[in-house]
């Protein structure tokens, strides 16, 4: 257990405000948001070192910002601008900034799991104490790629931290209807991999668990599996119908990780109301700047369509 940290709050608030500003745009395109689930990305990234690598699913905005990518370039990427991290080619589904420890998103559900194991094999071979963290949804736990990854990571003792951001749904399908295990972290047990399940709406719980597991991974203890029980505040994607029960969504909103952690920080006297207001203002400025940056940035030229193909 570590101390309450206003940086975690700021990071979550940035994600929330960033996504709100994105949604306010007419040109936002097809996006998967992390609002409501900020604590998972932020808690995890608090346990990562600069040399670690993070991979994630197509729900990449939270992870990218939590990993401290430049909001200007993140937004530019989401909107397809040349100034984005991937020169506007990757978008949300494939956002990447490996030089900043964000190996990137991959929009195939479960598709980044085996890739992450490969990245971990490379880090292991380099003999550093870095690790690879890979975030994926509950939906990805139905895919055989998880099994193959768990097994290989276990036999090779790879420095791999698997983080399931279990937001209870795969599009419209409730996790309980799609997946038999009582806890998804139980899937790690047969392979001798340590598993934990924590409240994914509690950033401190996520951070503490991620740090504990990361420490064993760094120490050469092999892979670990962290399940975070979360809930998204919006429908699956910006073009999906909402299908979740209204009162279930409302109940989740009552467990807002940002409000909850603000209270923790205020109760423990780490921040006061003024400081939170100041933080809000500062974030608004950052987000406004990102929108200006992205607006000013150019689209790629169609003439460059064959650039970087092979």
């Amino acid at each position: 257990m570590t101390l309450p940290d206003p940086a975690l709050l700021r990071s979550m608030m940035l994600i929330r405000a960033f996504e709100a500003s994105l949604m306010a745009r007419k040109d936002h395109g097809f996006q998967l948001l992390s609002s409501g689930q900020e604590a998972v990305s932020v808690g995890l990234c608090a346990a990562l070192e600069p040399d670690d690598q993070l991979l994630c699913s197509g729900r990449s905005i939270g992870p990218a910002l939590a990993r401290r990518l430049d909001p200007n370039r993140v937004l530019a990427e989401l909107l397809g601008k040349e100034a984005g991290y991937c020169s506007g080619r990757g978008g949300r589904g494939h956002m990447a900034a490996p030089a900043r420890g964000f190996f990137g998103a991959h929009a195939v559900v479960g598709g980044n799991l085996t890739v992450a194991a490969g990245v971990a094999l490379r880090l292991q071979g380099e003999g550093r104490s870095s690790l690879v963290a890979c975030m994926f949804g509950d939906g990805a736990c139905g895919s055989g790629a998880l099994h193959e990854t768990l097994n290989i990571a276990a036999i090779w003792r790879l420095p791999l931290l698997l983080v399931c951001d279990n937001n209870q749904y795969s599009v419209s399908t409730p996790r309980a209807a799609a997946l038999a295990p009582a806890r998804l972290s139980d899937l790690a047990a047969p392979f001798g991999i340590r598993g934990m399940t924590v409240d994914g709406m509690d950033v401190q719980a996520v951070r503490d668990a991620a740090q504990a597991l990361a420490a064993t991974v760094r120490a050469g203890g092999g892979p670990a599996f962290l399940e975070c029980l979360s809930y998204g505040f919006t429908a699956h994607s910006t073009s999906s119908r909402e299908s979740r029960p209204r009162d279930e969504v409302a109940a989740a909103r009552d467990r807002c990780p940002i409000r909850g952690y603000t209270e923790v920080l205020m109760r423990s006297g780490v921040v006061d109301r003024t400081q939170v207001a100041e933080m809000t203002r500062e974030i608004d400025i950052v987000v406004a700047a990102a929108n200006r940056f992205a607006d000013d940035a150019a689209f790629p030229s169609p003439a460059d369509v064959l650039l970087n193909v092979g």
């Binding site: 494939h94 929009a107 195939v108 139905g142 895919s143 599009v171 790629p300 064959l306």
Partner: protein, 330 residues
């Protein structure tokens, strides 16, 4: 009050699919539908709307994100005396299910000496619509050469309805391909129940100067190109393949034989693509035919709107290809 024999009604593409599925579900009690979010949710494009309520969760089955198992389970269910339709949301994810489809289902009848066969329809959605490199591909050409597998790709609600019904009455596996951009389109569908036979292309428009061949969403830019070429005095015969395997070679050769020129159009990659195959067959039957093909630029399809448009064929590129071919310009 029975309808006129050729009376039609207007349906959206996705409604035509729902209707075909509903009729076939009623007709064949062994038919089950399996897919992600096809149950109460009604499918990613509402193309399964209402079926769960009508037929229940035993016959309209939501599945986990496990494409390999989806097709494997569907194949096993079908082979054991049932009939299955498995929905693979995007064609890119069909790659995860090619082992059960190609190595098992397509070969089952052959390898068991006719003892077993798999009446399985794998329904998927191809094509670009802003979703990026792993959600936009058209890989139907890979499947056209798989012995034992049929492939259909309608472009109109009527053909979606009629081909899907035919596919659901086949003995062996059929790959049925929608396109993301087709779902919101409306069109006339026969009022009375009917099937569109597999293996028969449709002459969508008669013409004398050049034969344009396409399928699925590409029929929209193809027809737009034909309109524009008309105004320039070029008369296009337009063929909608509808079935990609088996190809309706006779119809293609007959048309190209009349016009003397062939332009194939596909959204996928050209190399070893649909157009290469058609051109070969037509060349064999119509020696001396002039042929050109239009397809994707050789790059992944980005979610980037500018680059997506730069990769995927449009009416401009089709018009240009026709003019180049007919006027012999390089």
């Amino acid at each position: 009050m029975s309808a006129e024999p050729d009376a039609t009604t207007k349906l959206f593409f996705r409604e035509a699919i729902v209707r075909a599925l509903g009729e076939e579900m009623r007709r064949d009690e062994g038919l089950v539908l399996m897919g992600q979010d096809i149950g109460a949710f009604g499918g990613p494009y509402r193309e399964f709307d209402g079926l769960h309520a009508r037929f229940g969760s035993g016959r309209v089955r939501d599945m986990p994100v496990a494409e390999g198992a989806m097709v494997g389970v569907g194949a096993g269910y079908a082979a054991a005396g049932g009939r299955a339709l498995v929905s693979i949301t995007y064609m890119d994810f069909l790659m995860l299910a090619l082992d059960p489809l190609v190595n098992y289902a397509a070969k089952l009848r052959y390898k068991t000496g006719g003892q077993l066969h798999a009446p399985l329809v794998v329904k998927t959605t191809a094509g670009a619509k802003g979703q990026g490199v792993a959600h936009s591909q058209c890989i139907e050409a890979w499947m056209m050469g798989v012995p034992g597998l049929k492939v259909v790709a309608p472009s109109t609600p009527a053909d979606a309805y009629g081909l899907l019904k035919s596919a659901l009455r086949e003995d062996g596996p059929v790959l049925y391909i929608d396109h993301k951009r087709l779902f919101p389109m409306a069109g006339h569908v026969p009022v009375s129940e009917s099937c569109v036979p597999l293996g028969v292309a449709r002459v969508e428009r008669a013409g004398g100067d050049v034969t344009l061949v396409g399928h699925s969403w590409m029929m929209v830019p193809v027809l737009a190109a034909a309109d524009r070429l008309e105004t320039e005095g070029i008369s296009c015969e337009v063929i909608d393949l509808r079935t990609l395997a088996p190809l309706d070679t006779a119809a293609l050769c007959a048309s190209a034989g009349r016009t003397g020129a062939l332009v194939t159009v596909e959204e996928g990659q050209l190399t070893c693509g649909v157009g290469a195959e058609i051109a070969f067959r037509v060349h064999e039957a119509v020696p001396g035919i002039r042929a050109a093909r239009v397809g994707a630029a050789p790059a992944p399809v980005s979610s980037n709107p500018v680059l997506e448009a730069a990769v995927v064929p449009d009416a401009d590129r089709i018009v240009a290809a026709v003019c180049r071919l007919l006027r012999g310009k390089p």
